[in-house]
């Protein structure tokens, strides 16, 4: 039972980081391969606050999220004017830079890692924060600010012509995702009780992005489904030892080939989301029928 609970907690922690990334990648259209770096910032700051300063866990979570957010503002100023792939490469560089800085900081244990952190992350913290984060993400996306982000993803130039301050909304999405990654990092540090810079390498960053894409770009419920599947999949197949990562890779490839938009790309598994899908299908069918009827009329 403890084992299952452990996986559930890991899912819950990762979910927070992935939700943030879903706003950045799925809704604003910016791909990042450096969010492991923001997670690392959150994790190490939280570790410092709890282990060295002996402050309460709530302060540590807040500090972890905020410091990741503040650093993302600087990163955003430097990189958000870059187009497409260049932003992606810049985030990759950022993630690696954070890892290497931590590797060489002996105050936090350097490359050997930092053990014996206080165990403070509980079920209640993880589930509670998950609920709050899902609600906040949902409200953000379904608001005028969220729609502006989607407009940036869909057609940047047209968004500008519709009066959307593209840079500002990209920045909001980046800071939001960084804060969420920082919070997830804080939870992780005080759950595992052990930190090492390699835990936040590029593989971790790509893992997070893959969860967003796997679940479906532009879908919050898809992000949740993707996170649950991809965090638990390697555990479910743990008996196959070395094959489990092959299965993980295969699952990602199958999804990318079969459903390039991810499991639930652009759709939401909520009453209003489902209504929307059916309304769109109906409207399309009516339109096609009318066009056909008009063509028949022309021919006759």
């Amino acid at each position: 039972m403890d084992y299952i609970q452990g996986i559930a907690v890991l899912i819950g922690i990762n979910l927070i980081a992935v939700l943030g990334l879903c706003v950045l990648t799925g809704f604003t259209g910016l791909f990042s391969f450096g969010h492991g770096g923001f997670m690392a910032i959150g994790a190490y700051i939280s570790a410092i606050v709890t282990a060295k300063l002996n402050l309460p866990f709530s302060v540590a979570i807040l500090a972890g999220g905020l410091s990741a957010g503040i650093i993302s503002v600087f990163i955003g100023q430097l990189t958000l004017k870059l187009k497409g792939d260049y932003f992606c490469i810049a985030t990759m560089g950022f993630g690696e830079a954070i890892r290497i800085i931590l590797n060489n900081t002996n105050y936090v244990g350097g490359a050997r890692g930092w053990a014996d952190l206080p165990q403070l992350t509980t079920w209640v913290w993880v589930v509670g924060l998950d609920i709050v984060c899902i609600a906040i993400t949902w409200n953000l996306i379904n608001s005028r600010q969220g729609r502006n982000m989607i407009a940036v993803r869909e057609e940047e130039l047209a968004a500008q012509m519709a009066g959307v301050n593209v840079f500002r909304y990209k920045m909001i999405a980046l800071v939001f995702s960084a804060v969420m990654a920082g919070i997830a990092g804080a939870l992780l540090a005080n759950y595992l009780q052990f930190l090492r810079p390699t835990m936040f390498n590029m593989l971790k960053s790509t893992d997070l992005t893959i969860m967003v894409i796997f679940g479906g770009l532009g879908s919050i419920s898809g992000t949740i489904v993707g996170t649950i599947l991809l965090v638990s999949l390697p555990e479910v197949f743990r008996n196959f030892a070395q094959w489990r990562l092959v299965i993980y890779g295969l699952a990602v490839i199958v999804i990318m080939v079969g459903r390039p938009k991810g499991i639930m790309g652009g759709m939401e598994l909520t009453p209003s989301g489902i209504r929307k899908i059916f309304a769109a299908r109906r409207a399309k069918a009516t339109l096609e029928a009318e066009i056909k009827a008009a063509e028949r009329g022309d021919a006759a």
């Binding site: 906040i136 409200n139 953000l140 608001s143 005028r144 600010q145 969220g146 729609r147 502006n148 989607i150 407009a151 869909e154 057609e155 130039l157 047209a158 968004a159 500008q160 012509m161 519709a162 009066g163 959307v164 301050n165 593209v166 909001i172 532009g218 652009g266 929307k276 309304a279 769109a280 109906r282 409207a283 399309k284 009516t286 339109l287 066009i291």
Partner: protein
Amino acid sequence: MSGVTILELKSLTKRFGGLAAVNDVSFKVREGGISGLIGPNGAGKTTIFNLITGVYKVTEGQILFKDKPIQDQEPYKIACGGVTRTFQNIRLFKELSVFDNVYTACHLSAKHNLFESVFRLPRYWREDKILKEKARSLLGIMGLEERQDISANNLPYGLQRRLEITRALALDPKLLLLDEPAAGMNPDETEQLMLLIGKVRKMFNLSVLVIEHHMDLIMGICEHIHVLNFGCTLADGSAEAVANDPKVVEAYLGAEEEKK
């Protein structure tokens, strides 16, 4: 020429490296009027639109909107200030429904901030209702209400153009720039579009500047026409004056006549 000038270009020049895409062009758009911008392919028409809307930076000269220079402003600020446009190659928010396209563009009519949105404070609810109503009424005016659930990329071409105009209107613009609104349309659709542009202009008290190759549309609705050729002004005046200008006939309309 009577009436107030809403937009004025003063010896506007745009150079890409050694090429002057727009060279010393000056003209005025009268408030409440429909003006046309015509010229052969590559004359610099769309470049002028991109300069007015801030997509390109002006090399030399001035753009005055309501007597204030706007050439150094960010594109979104120009749009918020009341100048908006459509695109030659339609640029809708493709994956979104027709309704969401307009609903998104209505955002300037609301003032609630990020905090109020995320925590769903009273002002969010109040203003969101207004946004939805505004989007619905715009779709109604433009005859798109029956199509509001369909995703924009599934619309037929003519309706996509119409949706793009609707989206532009959602910003409550003072000046609307239409870049070849009738491109790819048959004569029937072109005529419908003409009527629609006229109706919209009266209803929203707009000034319109339109780029077009369909001469019937240009001659039918534009009170004032500016002709460009190779980035330079060729002629400027009323529809008849321009149509009878020998230089214009030679550079542009002449070629059209021969084809017929």
